[in-house]
Amino acid sequence: MSETPEVLYRERQQRILDAVALRKPDRVPIVSPFQLFPYTYAGVPFREAMYDYARAREACHKFAGDFQPDADFGPVLAYPGKPLETLGLKWFRWAGHGLPGHAVYQFVEGEYMTADEYDEFLYDPSHFLASKWLPRSFGALAAFSDFPAMRRMMWFGWTGLFASLARPEMRQALAAALQAGEELSEWFASLARYAAEIKAKGFPQAYAGFSWTPFDLVGDTLRGTRGIMGDVIRRPEKLLAAVEKATPIAIEYGLAAAGADLPLCWIWPHKGSAGFLSDRQYARFYWPFLREVIEALVARGVIPVIYFEGDETPRLKHLAEVPPGKVWFHFATMDMARAKEVLGGIACISGNLPSHLLLTGTPEDVRRCCRSLIDTCGRDGGYIMDTSVMVDEARPENVRAMFDFTREYGVY
């Protein structure tokens, strides 16, 4: 007899909560943020998924129905094309905008804050973002370079502020922002609709919030890799101040997850992996702030999912400092036995099933690899099955092997 969606929903939710809490669930959970694959699998070109939200939902329903993940991402990773177009987003190339129709979008890194602008950012991050970062990021918002500084609205300051909003160029920019806002509301409504539909089918939503590591918030979105790496040596104090400033902002982002059925906040770290920073630099600029974010989120009942995409082997000793049974670390490149040794009893781990195996391997290869992962790090809970990095291209039979085998062999 098959179980009702309500029962399945609670089972799946509990399975994940147990794994994170380092209790033994009924079996190894599978949660995997597949990126492009659900759409190619359903025959929906990625460009269509980014523009036709109903098609995107359809594809995700098919993926969830066919593979039965323990928590589901849905169409959130297919960003909405229309508002990106309306605003003229510059740091992204996507299908139809610099990329072919089936391609997954690409981030184009740049220096969106120059080295001499640290003080401006530190003084008033909101105004810096409004008047510098927005116009540099979005072609349609060029006029925002004159955006009024809201901090000066006190007493009769607001008169000048509001008057400046009525200038013709600003009106145009605001009109674009409004239009994009409407388009975004449609997308958010689609996400909410999907979440309700999938819940009715018995699947919890895999994300409740997204955030950043403070160092990457400065490095990825403001300074760029070259910029921030140079700053580590050239202006360490300013950089530290900015990373410190970014820390409560990162916490704010993540608190959106508080109170959800599965309060998972996903964080994709980038510039702290092996090879980027020395251990001393990591211990000074990267880890203390990430730890602060993790601790603050945990204190509010959020489960941080730290999705590492590089090699974190030299960072394991730091990762072991998090509050036990509250955090989920995903690893791409890692000796998982070693990770289990260091983090066992401290944090749940996931990942490491080589993504390229799903494209180039056979179902037997996939099963062998899943078996070895479950044997090495899934034996007494605390492991969630996932690929090494988000999957774009894969053979469906290999994906099926990953899910079916884990469900079968991963029973405790």
Partner: protein, 210 residues
């Protein structure tokens, strides 16, 4: 003085290095002396990177210090001062791909090891590579790629060299995170290297006629 310059560059004293080099040139130092110091500094930095004492911050800062110091020397003087390079190399990240950190490290190490390197930057089209190879007549073409789509960009680049009748004039090596010997065969390159030192070894082998 020369040792001080090497010391300044390798210990990340960027401004001091530039000021010192300017002072040395003003006091009549030979361009050659400065360039030798640069090469020596590069070797030391490259070596420390290989030994995992230095990481990206040090490579970025010393790389820029070296560029600024070299820029103080007039091009004619630079040409006269640098001896024959072991080989001339054109490098770039292929079309559709904008990752440049790994490529810059490769360029840095090759330069430190007495190769002349011309860096075309990122997202370089097959056409531009062909044009450069035709104009600059390098001995070696080094292609970086980090995305799966780079396989095809590389394949197109090598094919375009063939179509332009230039394939026999250059050796082609490839590298970048997802590359391997299978990809080398797929794109029709002559060698694959997993890291920057491999790039140096391959280039040495080729320049010795191997």
């Amino acid at each position: 003085m020369k040792d001080l310059l090497v010391q300044a560059i390798t210990s990340m004293q960027e401004e001091e290095a530039v000021a010192l080099a300017a002072h040395m040139l003003g006091a009549g130092a030979q361009a050659q002396t400065i360039l030798e110091a640069c090469r020596e500094a590069m070797c030391i930095v490259g070596d420390r990177y290989e030994r995992r004492e230095y990481f990206l911050p040090e490579l970025v800062v010393s790389g820029e210090a070296l560029k600024r110091v070299a820029a103080l020397i007039r091009p004619e003087a630079r040409q006269a001062a640098t001896g024959e390079p072991l080989a001339r190399i054109v490098i770039g990240t292929v079309a559709g791909d904008i990752h440049d950190i790994g490529k810059e490290i490769v360029a840095f190490m090759l330069t430190a090891n007495e190769f002349e390197v011309r860096d075309l930057g990122v997202d370089v089209s097959a056409g531009r590579f062909v044009h450069e190879v035709g104009e600059a007549r390098p001995d070696i073409l080094a292609l970086s790629g980090f995305l799966t789509l780079a396989y095809d960009s590389m394949k197109q680049t090598v094919a375009a060299l063939g179509a332009a009748g230039l394939r026999d004039r250059v050796k082609v090596m490839i590298g970048g995170a997802p590359m391997d010997d299978g990809v080398r065969d797929y794109v029709g390159a002559d060698a694959y290297g997993p890291d920057a030192m491999a790039a140096v070894r391959i280039a040495r082998r080729w320049s010795e006629g191997g």
